[in-house]
Symmetry: C2
Subunit: 245 residues, 2 copies
């Protein structure tokens, strides 16, 4: 086999440039090429802005278009095309980083790209550097635990509606509802029905300069929609592990 570079999936965190890991900063200094996906409307890549101060002087930046749908999921066609582009770079050979906001293994484009890449070349060397998720940032900012003692928490997407949400909420103590922007009203209704409305925290653009944190569904209903928004839904009552007795 001809020599081939390593692909690094790098989580750059939720938006605050300081929430990058030391490891991500080091690898960004070392790689030859950085792949960033431009955001659908603005053409701007927040992930690249976060990474940019760490890149080596000769690093090459390549923008990949994923033609995201409203749910934030690109087509298989887009992934195949981008995987071919990435493979071409790795075979120079060159090392490369693919940037993702948050964490590469949590609702990220990276895992689709990796699958497509491995269909083209199963032996591609790949390392993933985990990143701080948006929900960890919201919990930190709100000082609200995701889980204590033997509580369970779930992370679920409301991009396609609230169909699966009720069953998940009933099975756990706390829940993170991602991508709620299009279905905010329906999510609020469901949280209220499950008795989780009052103690829920709603966040937009967490860890960024324009971040906003709102408590209780009553206050959420009038807000503007934002792409980078999520609910941290809590039962309010202490979980079984409660006071640590």
């Amino acid at each position: 086999m001809s020599p081939i570079g390593t692909l690094y999936g790098i989580g750059v965190g939720p938006g605050d440039p300081e929430l990058l890991t030391l490891k991500a900063a080091r690898v960004l200094r070392e790689v030859d090429v950085v792949f960033a996906s431009a955001q659908e409307k603005s053409g701007r890549s927040l992930a690249l802005e976060i990474a940019s101060t760490h890149l080596g002087p000769s690093a090459e930046v390549i923008h990949l278009a994923f033609a995201h749908t409203f749910e934030g999921v690109a087509s298989g066609e887009a992934h195949r095309g981008n995987a071919a582009r990435v493979l071409e770079v790795l075979q120079r050979p060159a090392s490369a980083a693919f940037l993702t906001l948050g964490d590469p293994m949590t609702y990220s484009t990276f895992t689709y790209l990796l699958s497509a890449l491995r269909r083209l070349e199963p032996a591609v060397p790949c390392r993933v550097i985990p990143g701080i998720t948006s929900f960890a940032a919201v919990a930190a900012e709100a000082l609200e635990p995701l889980a204590e003692g033997d509580e369970a928490f779930a992370v679920v997407s409301a991009a396609k509606g609230t169909g699966k949400l009720g069953a998940v909420l009933r099975a756990v103590d706390n829940a993170v509802v991602m991508k709620a922007y299009r279905n905010i009203g329906a999510v609020c209704d469901l949280l209220d029905r499950e008795g989780m409305g009052e103690d829920s925290v709603f966040s937009t653009n967490c860890s960024q300069p324009d971040q906003r944190l709102v408590r209780g569904t009553a206050a959420v209903r009038g807000l503007d929609r934002s792409y980078m928004s999520l609910f941290l839904a809590k039962r309010g009552g202490r979980g079984p592990g409660g006071e640590g007795e």
Copy 2:
């Protein structure tokens, strides 16, 4: 009110010292006092080892004893005593950091300490710096997504057994089972029954030099128990968001 310093809850990540955030490194350089909880058996604090290279030359380190039970939960008494100790330091006034492995809002001693502290002094200034969780590190190391598309995932503790686990597993696509060490056999049985045994990943000491990653419950049953272990349980079949179509 007399002046009072800020308490920082700092997540130092899963074990690899490079998986600390730039923000955590900066705050560790700046604080006057660092609180670390010694691990029950060894007296050693992995969190402090990770933090130590970043501390300022005049930083004072104070060890707090939490008298952890086997479930890793200290008594309310221990929290009250430690909260009083922390408050005393903040009132010097001094700034202080409390270190936690992983993330301070995810199954950490920090949230109990904060509750106890706020009962003593509701106006304590507190900031939390999120950390990379053990399960994000395992997913990265195993190259296994926690969630793709509109999949849901749950995080649950098996410290007190598998009683709540079945209902949670059935409600989601993928699940992280934390603190499985004492109940590994029962967790394997349950994962097998739920059809998640074959594609599960079991990890001990992830991101540390002696890390180990094993696939499938069949291979897990014979292993030694380790405190820092978890399952990443997957259904194997692609979730509804599957191929990104």
